[in-house]
Symmetry: D2
Subunit: 332 residues, 4 copies
């Protein structure tokens, strides 16, 4: 079927490619003409703006937005203003699910169906397929089935959980009314932060397992290491992540990637350690807090990212200042 | 080759089975005669006690302990006292790696090699193979290679990380001197706690996504829910975990199991929510603390298990008492 | 001066009393006629509804709301609708500071000044005075100075930080434009949660210092206690909190109350340990998350309260279910 | 009475001064001759080494060690070797209470009484007195009563909790057998870390309350700030901490110091934010973990200190590497 795609970054462009491989027809637009030209060279129809994109699709149309969260709302409203009853507007980006709830309600009176699709898979999605979490009215979601089926992994090697017949086992799921897709994707990313941090903390502990081989200051500002004999191990983290991939309880796709990464460069020298967050982890915590659900692991993972970007600088200065004021402790 | 196995619980018995399937000869002992009899019926040689077990093995011998951490040290010393130079004593249980460091040093003068093997795979290891993290002297570990190769998954479908040639890609790894195996397994379990908690917290947040449909008290003890319209979703957690298995960033073996579990009983009615911990998570944190490595996610996961067993009861009473004393707040 | 007070609960009623002791004239209203009658008996002027309350005050009027957060917005709008230009509407409750920002903007065109006052002091405020954090336009706040001065502790024994001349050293502070008062009070309460939890956790650890005197199961579900000889202390928590009050670094008013509480009933038998939260801690975290500020301690304190009310039940069941599914672990 | 003091750092020297002010006779030693000379000039008797110090005291003697934890054990054993039955060896430093348990058992057969004194009060103790938490045999502790009474605040302005008659209300407490003093002090410091972090996090949140006035990147690596209008406050943190000192629920001695610190230099420009920890916080967590007591707030405070010293660097690089590997995300 036909699909319009607006936003041809890492995610959007590859999704178009995967759709075209499945025989779908894509009309594409991006602020960067080169991104459009690249996909036109691969078989897509290019559009210079939203109006042109809409004009090149047969009604009723379906247009997918794949944009940064900060601008999605604005572009969605521009797009909707030019749509006609029966059209479907899809937001596949990392938008706050609350915006989806609001937008769907806003567009419904004009006959525009709003569908939110949480999309996971990253740069590997072109090859592996994307895991799709979908929210919206049932008839609109049903109309998009060919698109969703093409983007998702389908009957991948993983296999569905025995007894599972629905689309979930092929990698896409209608989760509920508008907002449900982004909600499920939001929590997916919150979990992702937690899992990533679990591996990172554990590997950092293993890396420090040689602490007993180092000298240590003897003063009131330094905690002594009581049993240095237990900390004289030089652990090969690349080999360890590899062995965990085979038969252990913590095998995962993220571990597969981590093993590869450490094998390529065990020192991770090209990274500085300022870890970004794109919003989903924050919103997950916001939902936890508003509904009174404890989420200490997910919040620790999020706050650690904030701290990696030195957002704890003032708090730490305060702690040093307090230590100085009550105990005369100078910073080391 | 021959192997003695002491401790025929869930793990030990299945490891014997997997070894026998690979053609190895096992002499087995357990305090429970029935456990011994069961394996004898399957081809193992039974032994009524440690002495008999040793006598039925050719020297130099290799004996594997698969026992609860709390008694492993005592049994290991009893066993070592009856061993002769050249013998290998293997601890495959969830022992503290520090005990391995100590025991190896203690047994070395008598010519007994101590090998610690962290063993992951649970009740699935018989079928999938076990991920094995091995510590000890190189020659002893090398002698055990046929055993380790048989227990581990071998060339499973997962495939080694491209470019990997060593045993890690088959699921076993010589991690370093005595203690290194249990150290790596310890951190493995610490990570496991974190990953499990990440999924559990996230799914609990999704479960609460219908909080806006509930009534809420209006008083000074209850936080108001500002936007109930954003919390009116009934999410099918079994379907969600299924869809995440296909193409998403958080796919993992634990997720596979969780999807199956939720499919079988979405209410988890047979579980009470008192979550045990077997020690490894604690020791991981201890190592983090002693070496000064931040581990907020792993510690949150551990502390949450403690709290699930009501070990926070007194602290919570104190909090209610403080609220009453400064604000006159009665508990709800 | 004259002040109208709406909401005569624990806080509101005592504030009226403290104001009357300082010679101010209070017109009071509450949905509960008895609360009104009690204060009338002590010298206040009663009002049966908002209209009557306004009619009994000279213009320009100042009316203070002291209500649960969940209804404050509604009542504030009812009140404002009956006010005239020059009047001041004060919200002294635990409202979200965002509501203050919105309300002030909403009321400004009608000439109604909105002042938000974060009020700390609890049931002790009548005697000790209240710590007041004030937001709003400078002229309105200035007009309220006699009220603020009377409610606050004034020149209490504590003394201002040397060199401090402003009202802060007397216990009230104009923190900034509308919203600033509730913002500062919000964070105050967030900190309060953290401090309370710090004491509660520490005392719980001391309480467990006799763990080495207890029997412990020997099985794969129970972490062994390696050094029971270090856990055979029976600590008198009432005496410990008392000694910390004198000369230690952690002396505080909350510690004073805690020492008294433990002296009165060391077992805290009248409390069940379900710890409420009234919203401020949640909003503090929300602000931290939105501005990217790490707040692991404050969030841990908040999440612990959620867990004390069993909001972690489903997550914990999931953890037990996972342990069962990969390791065959039964719950104890 | 007579007391020997070994270790004349910030704490030891001031304790000698406070003892001399109360009329006690002190024989003092330190590796730094100048520290000895300074106190001799104020009336103490100097000693060039441990032997001389012991020779200048009448038997039975009492000698107080005030040394870094890392060397206390060694010096204690040197000292004990030269003591005679009836002597008392006091460790007033921040030693692990486990060492106290061990040392007391080690010295008992030789008739040397070991007393551990947790000492809080910092550089203010000379003036305010020290809060003393004492462990050891009852008769030894009783003999030290004049010393303990002189060091502690005595009947300070704070006043005992009504009904309290014991020494706790004067600032010293016999907490139990050897180890109990350091145990209680250990937890005291664990709580201290938590309280400090609570203030620091809260004030950092207030400092960020102007985040809405800043520009923000629009890309997939930056979480958008949905409501900048709620984050346009410039809060005077020095004034806020001052107002909280008067009548609020979070008034404390640490807050007094913080208000003074912020008044002197609101930017805290002389501090870099590398926050040391001296061991007690670590041991508190270790005790929590071993006894199964949840301590998420205290551990968050400790881990944050570790992270302030960049001990999370490798973990953060791993997180960035993972983000790059699955999503192509470049670090900002």
């Amino acid at each position: 079927m036909q699909l319009g795609m607006i936003g041809l970054g890492r995610m959007g462009a590859n999704m178009v490619r995967r759709l075209m491989q499945a025989g779908h027809h894509c009309v594409v637009h991006d602020l960067d003409p080169q991104s459009v030209a690249d996909l036109v060279a691969e078989g897509a129809v290019g559009a210079a703006d939203i109006g042109e994109l809409l004009s090149k699709l047969d009604k009723p149309r379906a247009v997918w937005l794949m944009l940064p969260a900060a601008i999605t709302g604005r572009i969605a409203r521009q797009l909707a203003a030019q749509m006609t009853p029966g059209d479907i507007l899809i937001d596949g980006g990392n938008s706050n699910y609350r915006d989806a709830v609001d937008l769907a309600a806003e567009l419904a009176p004009g006959g525009i169906a709003y569908v939110d699709v949480g999309t996971s898979g990253g740069v590997w999605g072109l090859e592996r397929g994307y895991s799709l979490m979908v929210g919206g009215a049932a008839d609109a979601v049903k109309r998009l089935d060919p698109i969703l089926a093409a983007l998702s992994p389908g009957r991948d090697g993983t296999g569905g959980t025995p007894g599972t017949e629905d689309t979930a086992s092929q990698g896409y799921l209608h989760c509920g009314p508008a907002g449900a897709g982004h909600l499920v994707k939001m929590v997916h990313n919150g979990i992702e932060y937690g899992i990533m941090a679990a591996y990172a903390e554990g590997l950092n502990i293993l890396k420090a397992a040689n602490a007993g081989s180092e000298e240590r200051a003897v003063d009131a500002e330094t905690a002594p290491l009581h049993n240095p004999e237990y900390y004289r191990f030089d652990i090969d983290l690349a080999a360890v992540t590899e062995v965990w991939r085979h038969g252990s309880v913590i095998g995962s796709w993220l571990l597969d990637l981590t093993a590869q990464t450490l094998k390529d460069d065990a020192s991770l020298s090209r990274f500085g350690g300022k870890v970004s967050d794109s919003g989903e982890g924050r919103w997950t915590l916001q939902a936890a807090i508003e509904t009174g659900v404890p989420a200490p692991v997910l919040s620790s993972a999020l706050f650690n990212r904030f701290a990696s970007r030195d957002n704890d600088a003032f708090a730490n200065k305060l702690l040093s200042a307090m230590r100085y004021s009550f105990g005369g402790h100078e910073e080391k």
